[in-house]
């Protein structure tokens, strides 16, 4: 049980950081859509990727902030709990010490409650969440096996340094995927019959590979079984999927000088083919993602036909945004960390709590 506790604690912290990053992204997006980057989907995607990388490195960022704060302001606390204790001891918070301490230890108390298994409702919820996590993990494995089968049964058409282009008569929608060593672009073999569509599909999937979207998709989907219940994860994933396709379409049309209307017609045609088709939903990046992604497809069509051409943002803007995200997440993740040390303030609070209890006992006698 003692080994599980730190893991659960870290897991909770990760979820809180994810929630914080979702809020940061919503604010950043609100700001971005009011600037010239409104239709700069490539820049928006890069910014979201930078935020996600900051989330991954948030434990290290938190350590950095704590160390920096200890050097610069040795007497000042970074963790929210320590700041609250200091404020309480200064008399800024007016409540009984026992009540304040209980409030301060809420997270620890909940973790103990979960691990004790004494609360039936909590246990049932935990079992249900574990079952859904297992189902999602099984789905990911099933889709990985299906993709592997499709790739293995396909015909190797072209091969470059790190990408294989394959043709398959078992699929109707082109997709990009990666194995342990190589990346694959799998195209339906009937595309050989329509060179224009073949060009669109190749340009689209190669753009995904160039942007590293396949790896991001795998990363997101590997996290789904443990984070599926977190609305912040779902929101970030939706935003990522949306921006990934919008950015890819924008890059393809700009780079390859493809006619946007013809490309849009191709997308709609493929979407009609995916509705009611059973195909792996995760771990691959397809040209279109079927009926459930209608809203994103609508946005893609509107963006392709109506959005003006956007020049790439200045690197300094991107760097500024990344540094802002890193700083916010560093401070945020450092402040939510639990303090296990017995600092001077904590000892004082404990003494006050003990005195309060002693007084209550004396009054009882």
């Amino acid at each position: 049980m003692t080994a599980v506790k730190p893991v659960l604690d870290a897991y909770l912290e990760m979820n809180i950081v994810l929630g914080l990053s979702a809020v940061i992204w919503l604010v950043a997006r609100t700001v971005l859509v009011r600037t010239s980057l409104r239709y700069g989907f490539v820049a928006q995607l890069r910014t979201l990727k930078a935020l996600c990388i900051c989330v991954v490195f948030s434990p290290l960022l938190a350590l950095g902030v704590s160390a920096l704060a200890a050097l610069a302001w040795p007497d000042r606390a970074v963790a929210l709990g320590d700041i609250a204790v200091a404020a309480y001891l200064r008399g800024d918070i007016g409540m009984p010490a026992t009540q304040f301490e209980a409030l301060l230890n809420t997270r620890e108390r909940w973790i103990d409650l979960v691990l004790s298994g004494q609360h039936p409702l909590m246990t049932i919820t935990l079992i249900a969440l574990t079952l859904v996590a297992c189902l999602l993990a099984v789905r990911a494995i099933r889709d990985a096996v299906a993709i592997r089968k499709t790739v293995n049964s396909s015909f190797l058409w072209r091969r470059s340094a790190c990408v294989d282009i394959r043709l398959s008569d078992r699929i109707t929608i082109p997709f990009a995927v990666r194995g342990l060593r190589r990346r694959h672009v799998v195209l339906p073999s009937h595309l050989l019959d329509t060179p224009r569509e073949l060009r669109f599909a190749l340009a689209h999937e190669f753009q995904h590979i160039r942007a590293g979207d396949v790896e991001w998709e795998i990363g997101f989907e590997l996290l789904r079984p443990v984070l599926f219940w977190n609305p912040a994860y779902l929101m970030l994933k939706y935003q990522f999927d949306r921006l990934r396709e919008l950015a890819c379409d924008q890059s393809v049309v700009a780079r390859k000088r493809i006619n946007a209307r013809e490309y849009t017609a191709c997308l709609l045609d493929y979407c009609a083919r995916t509705v009611s088709m059973g195909r792996p939903r995760v771990l691959n990046v397809a040209l279109v993602t079927g009926g459930k992604a209608k809203r994103v497809l609508r946005q893609r069509v509107i963006a392709l036909t109506d959005a003006p051409q956007v020049s790439a943002p200045l690197p300094v803007v991107f760097l500024g945004l990344t540094l802002t995200f890193a700083a916010l997440l560093a401070v945020g993740s450092a402040s939510i960390q639990q303090t296990h040390d017995w600092s001077h303030d904590r000892l004082m609070l404990s003494t006050v709590v003990n005195l309060e209890r002693l007084e209550a006992r004396n009054q009882g006698n």
Binding site: S153, F155, D169, S189, H190, L192, D193, P195
Partner: protein, 131 residues
């Protein structure tokens, strides 16, 4: 040696190529492309890829004639027709060939002569089976 992929059925474009190969017996990519209707306007590389896929699937075999690859069908047209019908019967007609034939006979597109031919075929088959 590369392992041949075993696939039972041909895609639409593969069938189109096989039909031309069955008609001419054997030929190069250019020969097959020349047989296709002019409006198809298929690129040479696409044609070559389709024939390579057919080779990979084991429907044709290839041999070198100078710098050109000559393709020859390994499967006869009759056998593929039978295979295709068996698949149709299994997947669309619940594995009951009688339903398939009933659907065919019900089709308004059949002329008197067609129906007469079918009757003759069935009778010949029945005589062969009883004899």
């Amino acid at each position: 040696m590369r392992k041949k992929k075993t696939t039972n059925l041909l895609t639409e474009v593969e069938l189109e190529f096989m039909n031309e190969l069955w008609a001419i017996g054997q030929g190069s990519v250019r020969d097959v492309l020349d047989c296709l209707p002019p409006e198809r306007n298929l690129a040479y590389t696409s044609g070559a890829t389709i024939l390579r896929i057919l080779d990979d699937k084991g429907f044709v075999e290839s041999r070198k004639d100078g710098k050109t690859l000559i393709y020859r069908p390994l499967l006869e047209k009759d056998r593929y027709q039978a295979r295709s019908l068996q698949n149709l019967s299994r997947t669309l007609f619940d594995d009951t060939p009688a339903t398939l034939v009933a659907r065919l006979v019900d089709d308004a597109g059949l002329s008197e002569a067609d129906l007469e031919d079918i009757r003759a075929l069935v009778e010949r088959r029945l005589q062969n089976d009883s004899g």
